[in-house]
Symmetry: C2
Subunit: 437 residues, 2 copies
């Protein structure tokens, strides 16, 4: 019998035809002489019905890779509408010797607890709901690049091995580099700025590293940073406008391309024409009227928001504007990196964060583009310009007013899907206790 | 006067209109009372003509960032066809104090020599021909992802901090990781394979690290690897067929999107229906008839090709088939990684390289997917399975026949553009002597 090799999705349109399907055995149920299998391939799952004994059927184990030959038939009372009547089963590997955790469709992987979820990552990632997280994450990265390419940004790949930190040397991982010390880049910041002098608008999607010891639900020591930087801006408002359009594009893209996955996680995609924006001082004034334990990290002049403050502010704008996002602008210059553009006449800076459902998912701002002012800023922080010689080059040749921002891919994924821990949004997360798998 | 802010490209269609343009001063020529500027923005260059003295004009320096206001006018005898008659010049930064190297349009940056080219990277990258290299490179990465998304591959982001090397521990960079030793990943190999069990078809674009001491025109210690891995293959032929279609797609994409940049480098895009394929033994037989110094690295049974052999083989196929590409297949198992699928009954493996204009740009192959055989392979190489526990997990649960390949992004760029040194194809290259900029 000739049978065409098709995917589960293709099989749906082939009732009556003899086909071959290839995938993993996701479920096995034996009812007397009849065996029901659920076969999973990259496009979905399908029921396979075996009457009587078919070779290989009795030894078959969960997750085994198989080829299934049979006829596509209509199936009563099923969402998928079809099933495969098995004619031949071919196993493609040895049966598993028993799975350490159950990954069936109904099972919520979070209920395993984080250690099991991550220790058995090669298995738990096969669960339908977990797969959906990373399908959505891949789509976010695709939409990010697609939007920026349309806006005439150029993609760059900068080195992750650097000789100087972007923030003056704290929280860097050290690499042995042919007898020298190198560091893992905390951000492509300096390279993005150098490349603004080259392409005017650039973006990068790549890993960044923070050697911070904290062990929280929102920090990773290695994460994927979605960065863009653009020249010839008037102020940070141009960046905020660009990110607003970018997020609209990403969310629209997800609705079009990931409807099944969004539904699985019951994701409510934010819809908005604009994102509210408040200064840090205004944010503080709003929070001061709310009953909170600790809205800001400092008494008097607010320097930053506490996690509780971030959550309360997003809840406030959800109530008032119907959107769980808010830009917080004008952070004091003293709490931002040396390259942040100060606001003239104040102690503030042209920088901002974006909070989404209670968590900072973006940090950005306008940068200092005048060589002499950059030197002053470094010196006021006690940084030695000699250590930043390569970075400073581009400012000596001439740089336009510019700025940019970084979105944490895992944070955006976590907040969008309502995941409890950021580790659930990283395929193979790294933290102080975890270097594998 | 109201003037719309436009790009150089947009200005071409606005003859007679008052516009603002923003960019860098690429050239200045003073002819009596008239000053001619070349303004460069992200879309191209345009001549700006200033009659008499305009404020800021006398101090203006090369590469300074400026806003130019003026009227778009037709220009006699110019390729661009238009120029800007200056009304107002606004400088956006301090003038440069003199450029260490000249980066004018006519200047070939290679002629500076590699140290100057790389030491002044923030400046030399602004040269038109150098920019074109990285426009093409960005387009290659975009086309790679676009093609694989269409073929139902899912993009992944795997960790670059690993506890075990993929090849048994040689040539790894060491990272201090919270009191432990970690390594920089040489390849996302193990993660790609794990993810085949999850998504069946996956790809990744990311940095990889090789702590090799050699200092050659074709090696970098950090490079961008374009990887894909796919399940349910019959043999390595499926991978070769997929790469053939992928390269056709990439080359077609470049022709459509980078015609100006390709022309600048006088790139001849390969056109082919198929790419020739020979076994290593056949390659050796072809080379043995050619007058070469050193066609293979070994006497007797060939284990690999020398650089000279790779070049001669590509030249041979350019003469015979009119295509400077060739797949070389069936490398001995002993010279490939332990996870390479052995060919049954021989000492060969289901692995291959792709040579392009004399250089290996891809290495790939079918992998062992049976748990027990993988253990045997490890043991025969003296590797301890305990060190690969996380990797081995996925094979215990059930893995389909699978394989994949990796394309070096910088190598593909170098070969396509005919660059002399791979460092020219990396924005910020890393080698034994270079950790900056």
């Amino acid at each position: 019998m000739n049978s065409e090799t098709v995917t589960v999705e293709e099989a749906r349109h082939l009732v009556g035809r003899a086909v071959s399907l290839r995938g993993h055995v996701q479920a096995i149920r034996r009812l007397g002489a009849i065996t029901f299998l659920v076969l999973r391939d990259r496009t979905g799952t399908i029921q396979v019905v075996a009457n009587g004994s078919s070779e290989g059927l009795s030894d078959l184990a969960l997750e085994q890779a198989v080829t299934v030959r049979g006829t596509v038939a209509k199936r009563q009372g099923s969402a998928e509408g079809i099933e495969i009547q098995l004619e031949k089963l071919i196993t493609l590997c040895e049966p598993s010797t028993g799975l350490p955790v159950e990954i069936s469709r109904e099972k919520r992987m979070e209920s395993l607890g984080l250690p099991a979820l991550l220790n058995y990552r090669p298995l738990t990632l096969r669960n339908e709901r977990v797969r959906a997280i990373f399908k959505i994450q891949a789509a976010i990265a695709t939409a990010f690049r697609e939007f920026l390419n349309r806006e005439h940004f150029t993609e760059i790949h900068s080195s992750k091995l650097v000789s100087t930190g972007t923030e003056g040397g704290a929280n860097l991982f050290t690499v042995e580099y042919f007898g020298q010390k190198a560091f893992l880049a905390q951000s492509p910041q300096f390279y993005r700025q150098i490349m603004v002098g080259v392409f005017e608008r650039v973006f990068e999607v790549g890993p960044v590293y923070r050697a911070e010891e904290h062990n929280t639900i929102r920090h990773l020591n290695e994460y994927i940073s979605l960065d863009f930087e653009m020249g010839f801006i008037e102020s940070e408002s141009d960046l905020i406008a660009m990110e607003t359009k970018l997020l609209q594009y990403i969310f629209e893209y997800l609705k079009e391309n990931c409807s099944k996955e969004l539904e699985l996680h019951q994701v409510k995609i934010p819809v908005f024409a604009e994102i509210p924006s408040v200064t840090l001082t205004e944010a503080h004034a709003i929070l001061s009227k709310l009953p909170l334990q600790s809205a800001t990290k400092t008494q008097g002049e607010p320097e930053d928001l506490t996690p509780e403050g971030e959550r309360a502010l997003c809840e406030y704008f959800a109530r008032v504007d119907g959107i769980e996002m808010v830009f917080v602008t004008h952070y004091p210059w003293s709490v931002r990196p040396f390259y942040a553009m100060p606001e003239s006449g104040t102690n503030k800076s042209h920088s901002f964060d974006l909070l989404f459902r209670g968590l900072e998912v973006t940090t950005g701002g306008q940068r200092i583009h005048i060589h002499s002012r950059l030197l002053e800023a470094m010196e006021s922080r006690g940084l030695r310009p000699e250590s930043f010689e390569d970075y400073l080059q581009c400012f000596r040749y001439g740089m336009p007013p510019h700025g940019g921002l970084a979105i944490g891919l895992e944070r955006l994924t976590k907040q969008l899907l309502g995941l409890a821990n950021i580790r659930e949004a990283s395929l193979f997360p790294r933290d102080g206790n975890r270097l594998s798998p």
